[in-house]
C-alpha cells in the first residue's frame, strides 16, 4: 500500500495527490508515468508523474475522474499498487523557441515537460486550453516557468474564446516557434499536429492509449507511428505528431466504451 500524503481538488473532478513512493521519486524524470491499481480488484491505469520530491520520497499525480478506476482512486486513502517510473523520459534539448500546448487534464502531464524545456534554456510559451475557467488547472505553476502564457477557453470565461489551435496559429504564422509539444485529448493533439505540419515545426505528442502492464508485455498500447507498430509504454509515450496515426488511436481508445459505461453505472 502506498500512503497518500495529501489530496487536493484542483477543479471539478480533478484531483492532485501526493503519494509516498521513494523508489519511484528517486528515479523519475520528466515524461515518465506510473501504472496504478487503486484497490483490490481495480483495473491498472496509467497516470503521468507530475512532480516528485526525492528528498521527501514522494510523487504527485493529477487525475480526472472519468470512469470506474479513477472513481476508485478518488475514494481511496492509499493506493494499493504503483509501478514506475515507466516510459522513456521526454527528450529534452535546446530547440530555441518552444511552445507547450495542453488541453484539459493534459495540462498535468505537460507541467514537468515544460519545466524541463525551460531548464534546458528554451524560450517557452505555454498555451493552455479548458472548457471554462473553472476547469483550468495549474495556471500559476505554468505561468511561473514560462516566458509567455496564453489561454483559450471554449466559453471565453478566461483568455481567448476558442481552441488552443486558434491561439497557436498566429505564432506559427509569425514564424515564432521552433518546437511544439502537445498533450491532451486525441482530437486536440491531432489538430495541433495538422496545424504545425505545413510550417514544418517539429511537434511531439504524448499518446494516451489503453494500457495494462506498462512493461511491453501485453501490446494493448500499440500505436501506429510512421507506419510501424510501436508500444507506447516502452517506446513512448511521446512520438512525432506528424507520424502518428491518430485515427487508429482514438478508435482503439473507444474499444471498451460499452463495458466502461456499464461498470461506471454499476458504481453510481
Amino acid at each position: 500500500m502506498f500512503e497518500l500524503i495529501s489530496k487536493n481538488l484542483l477543479a471539478p473532478a480533478v484531483w492532485r495527490y501526493t503519494v509516498k513512493a521513494p523508489e519511484i521519486a528517486a528515479k523519475r524524470r520528466a515524461g515518465n508515468f506510473v501504472i496504478v491499481r487503486p484497490k483490490e480488484g481495480s483495473e491498472r491505469i496509467p497516470l503521468t508523474i507530475v512532480s516528485s520530491d526525492p528528498q521527501a520520497g514522494t510523487i504527485d499525480i493529477i487525475f480526472q475522474v472519468v470512469g470506474a478506476t479513477t472513481m476508485d482512486l478518488s475514494e481511496t486513502d492509499g493506493i494499493l499498487d504503483i509501478v514506475g517510473p515507466l516510459g522513456h523520459p521526454t527528450h529534452i534539448e535546446k530547440f530555441g523557441r518552444a511552445a507547450v500546448v495542453g488541453g484539459g487534464v493534459g495540462i498535468a502531464p505537460l507541467l514537468p515537460i515544460a519545466e524541463a524545456l525551460k531548464q534546458a534554456g528554451n524560450n517557452l510559451t505555454a498555451i493552455l486550453g479548458a472548457r471554462s475557467s473553472e476547469f483550468l488547472i495549474l495556471e500559476e505553476e505554468m505561468a511561473a516557468i514560462s516566458d509567455g502564457l496564453l489561454i483559450a477557453t471554449d466559453d471565453g470565461s478566461q483568455g481567448q474564446k476558442g481552441l488552443v489551435t486558434d491561439v497557436l496559429q498566429p505564432l506559427l504564422e509569425q514564424g515564432a516557434l521552433d518546437f511544439v509539444l502537445a498533450v491532451g485529448p486525441v482530437v486536440m493533439m491531432k489538430a495541433v499536429s495538422e496545424l504545425t505540419r505545413p510550417y514544418r515545426v517539429k511537434t511531439m505528442v504524448s499518446l494516451n492509449p489503453l494500457m495494462i502492464d506498462g512493461t511491453g508485455m501485453c501490446g494493448v498500447c500499440r500505436c501506429r507511428v510512421d507506419g510501424q507498430t510501436r508500444f507506447a509504454c516502452v517506446d513512448g509515450p511521446e512520438f512525432d505528431g506528424h507520424q502518428v496515426d491518430f485515427g487508429s488511436l482514438s478508435r482503439r481508445l473507444s474499444m471498451y466504451k460499452a463495458e466502461e459505461n456499464k461498470r461506471r453505472e454499476a458504481r453510481n
Binding site: 523508489e23 508485455m217 507498430t229 474499444m255 463495458e259 461498470r263
Partner: protein
C-alpha cells in the same frame, strides 16, 4: 509378470460441462488409481525415463514410494530436483520428455509419470508438507528479477542454502506466466500456484511486487549500491509479436498476452464482476498452434455468448508445438481447427472492429531451418472466416528493458541474454535463465535453469568467501 499396458486415464470434467466453466479440467488421480498406475512401472535397472526429464528427477524412486504407500517419501525425493511438482505434473509436455523415454513408450503405453508427479505434488499441498530444511543464514543477499518459475526455483534453492533472497516482480501479482498466462482450468491459481509461492514466503524469501528492474532500479545498482552479492535475471520472454499484416490494429485484435492477461491476471473470466473487461463477441479466431494458442482458444470458448472458436494454424496437426493433451482437450471441447491456414488480412466494420479474417490455405513443402516442412500458399485458395475478435498467438520476443538499461550485458541478435552453461552473463555476478535466455520454452526448463544458476551462484560466492 506380463506387461500391463493399461495406462490409467485421469478423471476429468465432461467436455460439454467444462466448456462453460473455468474449473480445472483434470481432476487428479485417486490413491487407488495412482497405485494402479505406479504398479505398471518396471523399475528398470537403467531407468531411461530419467534421461527425458530436464531436471533428472529419480522417477522410479518416487513411483516406488507411491506403491509403498509412503507419499511423504515421494514428496521428499521429487523436491530434491523439482520444487514445484504440482505445477510440473500439470503442465510439463511429458509426452516429449520423461514419458517419451520411458521403456513402455515403445509398447505405446508409457507410465503416466506426469499424472503421478501431480498426485505427489497435490498430496504435499493437501497435507501442507513443508520443505524440510534447516536454514543457516550466511549473511549474503541475492536479488532475483522476475517471479516466474525460473525466478521462483532460483530463489527457493538459494534460500535453502542460507541466502537472504529478494524477488523483484514488475506486476502486482507473483508467478509470471503461471499466473498471467496459463489459465485457471489448467493450473489453479489459489489452490496451486499461490500455495507454492506461500511455501517460499514461509522459507523466508522476500517478494517485492510493483518493481520493474531497469526502471524502478537498475540491475547494476542492485549489485553495486544495494548490497546484493549476485543477481539472477529471469524476466521471461513476454514481448508479443504480431504478423504485420493489414488490419492488425483493428479493435478486438488481441495479442495472446493481452487476452490472457485480461482473463487471468485481471480476472476478466469472472465477467462483469471484474473491473477489466474483455470482448469476445460470438466468434473468435485464434492464430497459432502452441500452448498459448490452445489456452487462448479454450479461454475464449468458455466466455458467455461465444459460439465458435476457430484455431488457425499454418502447418498441419503433426507440427503443432502444443502439448498433445491440450490439443485433445481442445478438440473434445469443440474448437474448430483450421490447419494449413494462415490469415493475410483482417477486415473491419465501419466502427473499426474486426469482422473477418481473410485467409489462405497452405500445403507443406520442403523442410525449413526448424526441420519442419515449410508451409507454402496454395494459389487461389483465399477464403474468409467471420470473427468478432482475434487472438494473435504466434510467439513472443525478448523484453528489451533490462538489456537497454544494463550497459555491458551481452545479448544475441534476437535480444536474448547470452550466458555460459552456469547461467553467468557477460557481467560478473549477474546471472540469467529461463525464457529470457532460451527464448520461449517450458516451465521445467525455466525451473532447471533457475536451480542451476542458484548452484553456480553458491559455488562462486562460497569460493570467494573461503
Amino acid at each position: 509378470m506380463p506387461l500391463n499396458l493399461n495406462r490409467v486415464s485421469m478423471p476429468e470434467q465432461e467436455p460439454g460441462q467444462r466448456r462453460h466453466n473455468f474449473q480445472e479440467v483434470n481432476l487428479g488421480l485417486t490413491p487407488e488409481l495412482a497405485r494402479a498406475e505406479a504398479s505398471r512401472c518396471l523399475f528398470c535397472k537403467r531407468p531411461t525415463c530419467i534421461d527425458g526429464c530436464p531436471v533428472g528427477i529419480n522417477i522410479p524412486f518416487f513411483i516406488q514410494a507411491i506403491l509403498d504407500d509412503s507419499p511423504e517419501e515421494a514428496v521428499r525425493r521429487i523436491r530434491m530436483d523439482n520444487s514445484l511438482p504440482a505445477i510440473c505434473g500439470r503442465v510439463c509436455p511429458q509426452e516429449i520428455q520423461c514419458e517419451k523415454t520411458c521403456v513402455l513408450n515403445k509398447k505405446g503405453a508409457p507410465v503416466a509419470i506426469g499424472a503421478l508427479e501431480r498426485y505427489v505434488g497435490d498430496y504435499a499441498i493437501r497435507e501442507c508438507l513443508a520443505t524440510e530444511c534447516n536454514i543457516t543464514e550466511n549473511g549474503l543477499k541475492v536479488a532475483v528479477v522476475g517471479s516466474g518459475p525460473s525466478g521462483l526455483s532460483c530463489a527457493g534453492e538459494l534460500r535453502k542454502l542460507g541466502y537472504a533472497v529478494t524477488v523483484f516482480e514488475a506486476l502486482h501479482e507473483l508467478g509470471g506466466v503461471l499466473t498471467y498466462g496459463i489459465p485457471e482450468f489448467r493450473l489453479p491459481k489459489e489452490a496451486v500456484v499461490q500455495v507454492e509461492i506461500d511455501t517460499l514466503k514461509a522459507l523466508g524469501v522476500e517478494f517485492k511486487t510493483n518493481h520493474l528492474v531497469g526502471k524502478t532500479s537498475l540491475a547494476a545498482d542492485l549489485l553495486d549500491k544495494d548490497g546484493y552479492a549476485a543477481v539472477y535475471i529471469a524476466t521471461g520472454a513476454g514481448y508479443p509479436q504480431f504478423m504485420q499484416i493489414p488490419g492488425e490494429d483493428l479493435n478486438y485484435v488481441y495479442s495472446a498476452n493481452e487476452f490472457l492477461t485480461r482473463m487471468n491476471l485481471m480476472r476478466a473470466y469472472k465477467g462483469d464482476a471484474a473491473a477489466t473487461p474483455v470482448f469476445t463477441g460470438r466468434r473468435v479466431g485464434v492464430i497459432g498452434g502452441g500452448n498459448t494458442a490452445m489456452d487462448a482458444a479454450r479461454c475464449a470458448l468458455r466466455m458467455p455468448g461465444v459460439e465458435k472458436v476457430s484455431l488457425i494454424y499454418r502447418r498441419s496437426e503433426n507440427e503443432m508445438p502444443a502439448r498433445i493433451e491440450e490439443v485433445k482437450h481442445a478438440k473434445e471441447e469443440g474448437i474448430d481447427f483450421q490447419f494449413l491456414t494462415a490469415p493475410v488480412e483482417y477486415l473491419g466494420t465501419a466502427e473499426g472492429a474486426v469482422r473477418a479474417a481473410r485467409c489462405v490455405r497452405m500445403e507443406l513443402g520442403e523442410p525449413d531451418a526448424s526441420g519442419r516442412r515449410r508451409p507454402v500458399v496454395i494459389p487461389g485458395s483465399e477464403f474468409k472466416i467471420d470473427v468478432d475478435a482475434v487472438v494473435v498467438a504466434i510467439g513472443t520476443q525478448a523484453n528489451p528493458i533490462i538489456a537497454q538499461t544494463t550497459p555491458g550485458l551481452a545479448t544475441n541478435k534476437w535480444g536474448y541474454i547470452i550466458t555460459d552453461e552456469n547461467g553467468l552473463t557477460s557481467i560478473r555476478h549477474i546471472y540469467a535463465g529461463g525464457d529470457i535466455v532460451s527464448g520461449a520454452a517450458t516451465v521445467i526448463l525455466a525451473m532447471g535453469a533457475g536451480r542451476n544458476a542458484a548452484r553456480a551462484i553458491h559455488e562462486k560466492l562460497s569460493e570467494m568467501a573461503s
